[in-house]
Symmetry: C2
Subunit: 386 residues, 2 copies
């Protein structure tokens, strides 16, 4: 396999974007990415699109051909990839493999989700299609319930405190303030979180990511070509996927996602790196506790010590390992099928030195994208190529 | 890229399969394919699943991880591919590319759809998600309307007769009689078709494929490995995809699908073959007129002569180019996200000499799978490998 790089990125804001459907959003992010790479749409040889709930929420499928048509692309192959909230990174990975193996030279990958035009109950039902309907769905379980149970178990098992869990929200809301793409751009104080109305114990609203619209895109090509075409190309050191348990009754414990552990093992191995080499992380904080669990599953902290690491400030922007400098899903928003490429967009911006919360000279970043109750996880490691 | 082969196939019947959800059906077809190949599920290195309407009709996504969990597979990558009615072949192609390029050795591809548990109006709405909702959907157009317009135009343009169009149904219903997997297993006479109640002029019920449940699966591996593992392996000479127009207002005429023309060009070129080399075809006869148009777009007959070819008996089982010896979508059924792999299953059965409508010593077969109003087309050319 030959080395592959990202030569263009684009993203809509992640927010309630009225009057724009999934095709509009995907086209907007794609045009940005094509403009960033200075590549004409007719040069693109394949389109891999990630999306989760478009069929259920907007009644529109075949998004790939619709986007390609709108962009005036040629008669190229296109598929939509679905893997719940990791759909975008799954699409991205198929594109990476196609370029790495010489099937294509220039590929557009785009993730998109349009959620806010549907009622909250319809969105909740759509998201629940990532649970096992034959077991969890039929019990009325939803994702805030799943992650709240995991929070309770993490507190019980390791003494993680309610305050530590709340600190995820405080940190990510603070990071979101400067991010022009973020849905929430205001800080939140501990007292406000602890005094807020419960959603699913121990969670309040501030522990849960919002319902969002959005799209993000990346143009990929062989690294050799990238060096000629761009002065700001980003190398894809690895992009690996693993399934885990698609329902929580299959979890051996309630404090870890085996899909993350396995995908991380593969991603570090493919890249020839270890956790020590990673300068910062964008990870899947769909709920506050998820950031703590993910940071442990990825190997950055011992199991049970994620809350403490947070309390010590290690994951702040100025900490040893900044986590979610973009604001994460909690602050930036979570248009589910776009999120993975949104993370990759944020990592690229940091590595290019163009981020609103710019870190000091980062060289390698990691993006972690989780689907379902750990049904599938996709991890991407990126580095500067200039 | 190294040569790739199919070493195991499986299929449920295509029919109304009560009490079985999409995961059950996909698992059933997969177990058959694994048994056919004598490969343990733990040996599988990736699972590519094709599905179109599961989110809308059953509220269940993340089908790949659910199927993999049920089969006891390892922590492998898995995605769902969607491209309307061509979803299964899109999933198959990603699997073929992964094996051809050495990413994986043994891959399971499975297509599945569960449609009959929903109301007909809900199914019609789900299928309409493969139309452009911003244009066609908002006018109330559905697929029987699209294809009926194409039939009218084909009749007007080339003098294709109502009787010729009906002959597609007569032939495919006759072929379905012996196929144990087919939903309809009774012949139908010309008078019955011509006297039946209209659906969308000029179509009656016999011009339209049914609503079906079903799943089909194939195990793929490098041809070198296939020769060691199997005495009945089938070579994948090519599997190519092209997008076309995702809405009918973009069609330059109403008698051809550019996606088919482009995908065929690529598929023949990759395989180093021409139409003369193909012994039989399974093609996407979602409506009677589709078979006529597809047979022309694929290059087997001049544009406008598909109806005449049929009348001459050229596409009968004992004709020069048998088309849909399985009974096709019209007789065998059309569980949309399973259909592409269902066609590949039928082609393999013919090439292995195991088909209920066995042709005389066929060596090369072609499967043609179309999504939307020609939004995307996937074509696979298979040959004997023994």
């Amino acid at each position: 396999m030959r080395p592959v790089s990202i030569i263009g990125i684009g993203s809509t804001p992640f927010s309630k974007l009225e009057g724009k459907g999934p095709v509009d959003l995907a086209v907007e992010a794609s045009i940005q990415a094509l403009g960033d790479a200075e590549i004409h749409p007719k040069k693109i040889e394949a389109l891999y699109l990630g999306n989760f709930t478009s069929g259920i929420l907007t009644g529109q499928e075949i998004l790939g051909p619709l986007v390609a048509n709108r962009l005036g692309m040629r008669a190229i192959p296109s598929i939509k990839a679905e893997g719940a909230c990791s759909s975008a990174t799954l699409a991205f990975r198929e594109g990476v493999l196609a370029v790495a193996n010489g099937v294509h030279e220039l590929v557009l990958t785009v993730g998109v989700e349009k959620m806010t035009s549907a009622s909250t109950s319809k969105v909740t039902a759509a998201l629940a299609s990532a649970l096992d309907q034959s077991k969890e769905g039929s019990c009325g379980l939803t994702f805030p319930g799943v992650f709240a149970m995991m929070a309770r178990r993490h507190m019980h098992e390791f003494g993680t405190t309610r305050e530590q869990i709340a600190m995820v929200s405080i940190k990510n809301r603070k990071n979101g303030v400067k991010n022009p793409l973020a849905q929430f751009r205001a800080e939140v104080a501990m007292e406000k979180i602890l005094g807020a109305k419960p959603v699913t114990e121990p969670f309040v609203l501030y522990d849960c990511c919002p319902i969002s619209d959005g799209a993000a895109a990346a143009i990929i090509c062989p690294t050799e070509m990238a060096r000629k075409l761009s002065t700001k190309a980003i190398s894809i050191l690895s992009c690996e996927v693993s399934i885990g348990n698609a329902s929580i009754d299959m979890m051996s414990d309630m404090v870890s996602f085996p899909a993350t552990v396995e995908a991380a093992k593969k991603a570090f191995s493919t890249a020839g790196l270890s956790t020590k080499d990673i300068n910062f992380v964008e990870l899947h904080d769909c709920f506050t506790i998820a950031e703590i669990i993910d940071s442990e599953d990825l190997g950055f902290f011992e199991k049970g010590e994620g809350g403490l690491a947070l309390e010590k400030g290690l994951t702040q922007i100025d900490g040893k390992l900044p986590i979610n400098p973009s604001g994460g899903l909690l602050s930036k928003g979570h248009p589910v099928g776009a999120t993975g490429l949104g993370q990759i967009y944020e990592v690229c911006k940091q590595l290019r030195g163009e981020h609103p919360n710019q870190l000091d000279n980062p060289k390698i970043g990691l993006a972690h994208n989780l689907g379902g109750t750990g049904a599938v996880c996709a991890i991407t490691i990126l580095s500067r190529n200039f």
